[in-house]
């Protein structure tokens, strides 16, 4: 009979995994389950609920790291960091609402397992870049660790990179250590109104290629901008291109001026958002709140070279209809279209293949996700390596079998 196992210590977890290996059971590994709809649907014997492994274990603000148990809610971590004016600089997206779950309930283990990031990806990196080390139990039922608490560490293979983005298919973390950094004193956003997608890519590229240390660059076509809760954005009545700068006050002012100068010849109206409004807009962008993701819509996340963004976006719209918006200077495209049995995956993959990149079907009904490859297919030797890695870490297929690829 299917059970939900909820270990409360690392020892419990080890015993559960040893037992599952011996019983040849498979486990649906989850934190708070906010991203259960992300990935291929699985048929598992039992559920492994990690929300009992919760709490901040070590937080040393002056050493710029935190160690937390894998089931710790991100909200708890962010609250502790705020008290010391620090943050997870990679700005992990909260995909809960997009996936039909509650806001603010994800865990740190989930953030790392899905290698989440936010608009600051272009400047500060993703979860993979901030994930310093872990303790885990592999699908072999063996405890192992990798990395440490320091930023500079090349001792042995960097297994943190392997675990980040492996969707719980290789090992179950008991605790994770990640970098924390000072939160910026000030944040401001420069807006350009009415640019076409193509001109917006160029404008963002200019800003990102300038010395103004841009920490976010997004382009919202008119329909998406109109959904913003920030009145300057929703009231624009046209497309909005947004570029964010953060840092000490005088520096932020200086850089906003510089970006306005860079964009002076665009013939576009320029606006500025300050602290609250700026933060609100980037949270909407981060959490994909500006797409029409009504029930029945399917949502893709597409990563391409930034300057290819508008071209690929146009092709996607031509092939599947729906709507898009752009983050990461054009390098990240969010696409939502009406649901269909194949999620238009052939068209999506063809458009991405031409530009170079990858596409992930973030949201669709389980039966669609069971038929269509959710993650970018890994052909030939890449697929072979993937299977051999899985074989090495989880030979019996105990952990989230088939979550990413059939048979892995």
């Amino acid at each position: 009979m299917s059970q939900t196992l909820k270990p409360e210590t690392a020892e419990h977890l080890l015993e559960v995994l040893k037992w599952a290996v011996a019983e040849k059971s498979s486990l649906d590994v989850r934190g708070n389950g906010t991203k259960q709809g992300f990935g291929r649907p699985m048929r598992t014997t039992h559920t492994l609920d990690l929300s009992g492994l919760s709490g901040i274990k070590v937080y040393e603000p002056h050493e710029l790291f935190m160690t937390a148990y894998s089931g710790t809610p991100v909200a708890d971590i962010e609250a502790a960091l705020r008290q010391n004016n620090q943050q997870m600089a990679f700005e992990p997206a909260d995909l809960g609402p997009l996936l039909g779950m509650a806001e603010g309930t994800g865990t740190i283990g989930g953030v790392i397992a899905c290698n989440l990031a936010g608009p600051r990806r272009i400047q500060a990196g993703a979860a993979r870049d901030h994930f310093l080390g872990f303790n885990a139990v592999s699908g072999r039922g063996e405890v192992f660790k990798s990395g440490g608490t320091v930023v500079k560490n090349v001792t042995g293979f960097d297994l943190s990179k392997l675990i980040a983005g492996s969707f719980g298919t290789l090992a179950v973390m008991t605790e994770a250590t990640f970098k924390v950094l000072p939160a910026a004193e000030k944040t401001r956003t420069v807006l350009a109104l009415g640019l076409t997608d193509t001109r917006a890519m160029k404008a963002m590229s200019q800003a990102l290629g300038s010395a103004n240390d841009v920490s976010g660059a997004a382009h919202l076509p008119a329909a998406q901008a109109a959904r913003s809760g920030v009145s300057y954005v929703s009231g624009a009545g046209q497309a909005v291109t947004a570029v964010r700068v953060e840092g000490p006050g005088p520096s932020v002012e200086h850089r906003c001026q510089a970006i306005r100068g860079l964009w002076a010849d665009k013939g576009a109206q320029l606006e500025e958002l300050h602290s609250q409004n700026s933060a609100a807009l980037w949270k909407e962008i981060r959490d994909v709140r500006l797409l029409d993701a009504a029930e029945g819509k399917q949502v893709w996340r597409v990563s391409v070279p930034p300057m290819e963004g508008a071209g690929v976006g146009g092709e996607l719209l031509g092939a599947s209809g729906g709507e898009v918006f752009y983050d990461w200077g054009g390098g990240l495209i969010w696409l939502a279209h009406d649901g269909c049995p194949d999620a238009n995956h052939d068209q999506v993959r063809a458009a991405v293949a031409k530009a170079g990149g990858h596409a992930t079907l973030i949201r669709a009904d389980a039966d669609v996700r069971g038929l269509v490859p959710v993650f970018e297919p890994q052909p030939g030797p890449l697929g072979d390596i993937t299977r051999r890695v899985k074989q090495g870490f989880d030979p019996e297929g105990v952990l989230n079998p088939g979550r990413m690829v059939e048979g892995v």
């Binding site: 409360e8 001792t155 042995g156 990179k161 010395a211 070279p305 990858h358």
Partner: protein
């Protein structure tokens, strides 16, 4: 240092192997003459030497693929080699292995300012990469001190660092894609000009894999726009403790400097004698703190760091007034290794990383060990990210002194691990720290790492004898020991 026993069968087949290599690479790309092989008998870890079976210098990915496929089919080992500047012996040749040099992969293939990327062959030097884009005001951020000579392929293999890591990341955070030839001869691509991966992050694990997973034949990096301005403070302290306090206070104030370097008294004196950077000689510790960014930001932060330095007991403080003066501040630190080389016939450079707040404690232990082993030591320290480089001075011509110095170094690294740090921050494990891996990792930790190796190179032909003290066969690592039984913790909550 025990290396794996050379395979006599492979050595006996040397002539046949050379002929096969000449069939793949024509002309001077196959080096078999003993005198010429000597140029490849060591890397930056000079204490260890050995002649390779043969050296091959391919020029194309296809040739690399053919070489690896031949070696795979004929059970011949491969030692990949970039510029040979690595400090941990990762490119140390093996008597029964082909050393595969990437020195002829010297072209920059594409510069794309709009996407802020460069695609390059792996033999291009780190500095050449920056030089290729600086006319447009761009640069490649990771800057190991060997940047004039070290190659970008080697940087990826070692996940090289530099003085700007705290703010701009290591190699792994700045590489977007690679082309790699697997031991089977198959050519794969991880990443590209886009971000992140649609599957497992194999690009991430290739970074810092020390030539054990594949041979890198192309690299895509991100480039950054040079900051508008940079200024540095040179700050002297009466003790290592107060310098350490200053570092901690700067970080605690929410400031992430572009670079933050520290030297102890012996290092200050050695470098000052060598380059005359104008360092104060009456201080115990010296910090260089560089702030970069827009003029307004740098001004603002310089003032704040100035205040913090005074509060933490600085006895000497100078702020650079020009780029030239800033370069002078750096000249001593950047020449620390050769400066120490001048005052001692030989030196060993250690590379542990420690939690920043344990610095004074670790330096005290280094001093005690210096007395115990009766060897001098000078310390330079990437204070921002906790990466410590004690330089152990010795004379290899004195019998037993190399061994003594190595034992001293090993004791330092053990202490780094004991205080919560790691064995190597940026130089790699190679052979140098191989036998210390057990100080940091359990058998199971290392076995899981080696299972990754097995996914790439099941026959274990790539760079054997490096990084891991015990070589397990992949079949043995794959075996499962399953204990059947009931769930022994009946109290685990279940629903």
């Amino acid at each position: 240092m025990q290396m794996p026993q050379p395979d006599a069968d492979v050595i006996a087949r040397r002539a046949e192997i050379i002929k096969a290599m000449q069939g793949i690479i024509s002309g001077e790309g196959v080096i078999a003459d003993t005198d010429e092989l000597r140029a490849y008998d060591h890397d930056g870890l000079m204490a260890y030497k050995g002649l390779p079976l043969v050296v091959v210098l391919p020029e194309t990915t296809e040739q690399v693929s053919d070489i690896l496929k031949y070696c795979h089919d004929n059970n011949v080992k491969i030692v990949p080699r970039g510029a040979g500047t690595g400090l941990s012996g990762g490119a140390l040749p093996l008597a029964d292995a082909i050393t595969l040099g990437l020195g002829k992969f010297k072209k920059i293939l594409e510069i794309d300012f709009d996407n802020r990327t460069v695609i390059t062959q792996p033999g291009v030097t780190n500095l050449a990469l920056t030089q290729a884009v600086e006319h447009e005001g761009f640069y490649y951020a990771p800057d190991p001190s060997s940047q004039i000579a070290c190659s970008i392929g080697g940087n990826v293999a070692e996940n090289a660092g530099g003085v700007h890591c705290l703010k701009y990341g290591l190699t792994t955070n700045n590489v977007l894609g690679i082309e790699m030839v697997l031991m089977s001869g198959e050519v794969v691509r991880f990443g590209g000009k886009h971000l992140d991966s649609g599957g497992y992050d194999l690009l991430g694990v290739a970074n810092g894999s020390e030539g054990l997973l594949g041979v890198i034949t192309e690299v895509t990096v991100r480039i950054l726009r040079k900051p508008e301005t940079a200024r540095a403070l040179l700050v002297g302290f009466p003790s290592n403790e107060s310098a350490g306090d200053c570092v901690a206070a700067i970080i605690s104030a929410g400031i992430i400097p572009g670079g933050m370097e520290m030297m102890d008294k012996p290092a200050i004196h050695a470098t000052e004698d060598f380059v005359h950077a104008g360092y104060p000689l009456d201080v115990q510790a010296l910090l260089i703190v560089e702030l970069d960014g827009p003029e307004a930001e740098v001004e603002h932060l310089i003032e704040r760091v100035d205040g913090i330095a005074n509060q933490t007991g600085a006895t000497y403080l100078k702020i650079s007034q020009s780029d030239a003066e800033r370069e002078v501040f750096w000249s001593g630190r950047k020449n620390a290794f050769p400066a120490v080389g001048r005052i001692s016939p030989d030196y060993l450079c250690m590379d542990g990383t420690i939690p920043r707040h344990r610095l004074a404690d670790v330096l005290k232990r280094v001093e005690e060990l210096s007395q115990k082993y009766n060897l001098r030591v000078a310390n330079v320290f990437h204070a921002g990210d906790g990466n410590l480089h004690p330089l152990i001075l010795f004379d290899a011509n004195q019998p037993g002194e190399l061994e003594n110095a190595e034992n001293f170094g090993a004791d330092i690294l053990r202490y780094c691990v004991e205080v919560g740090g790691v064995l190597t921050g940026e130089h790699g494990v190679g052979i140098e720290k191989r036998d210390l891996m057990g100080e940091m990792f359990t058998e199971d930790d290392m076995n899981h790492q080696q299972r990754l190796k097995c996914a790439f190179d099941p026959a274990g032909l790539l760079n054997p004898g490096k990084v891991y003290p015990t070589l397990h066969r992949c079949a043995e690592l794959g075996r499962m020991y399953v204990h059947h039984g009931k769930l022994p913790f009946p109290d685990i909550p279940r629903f």
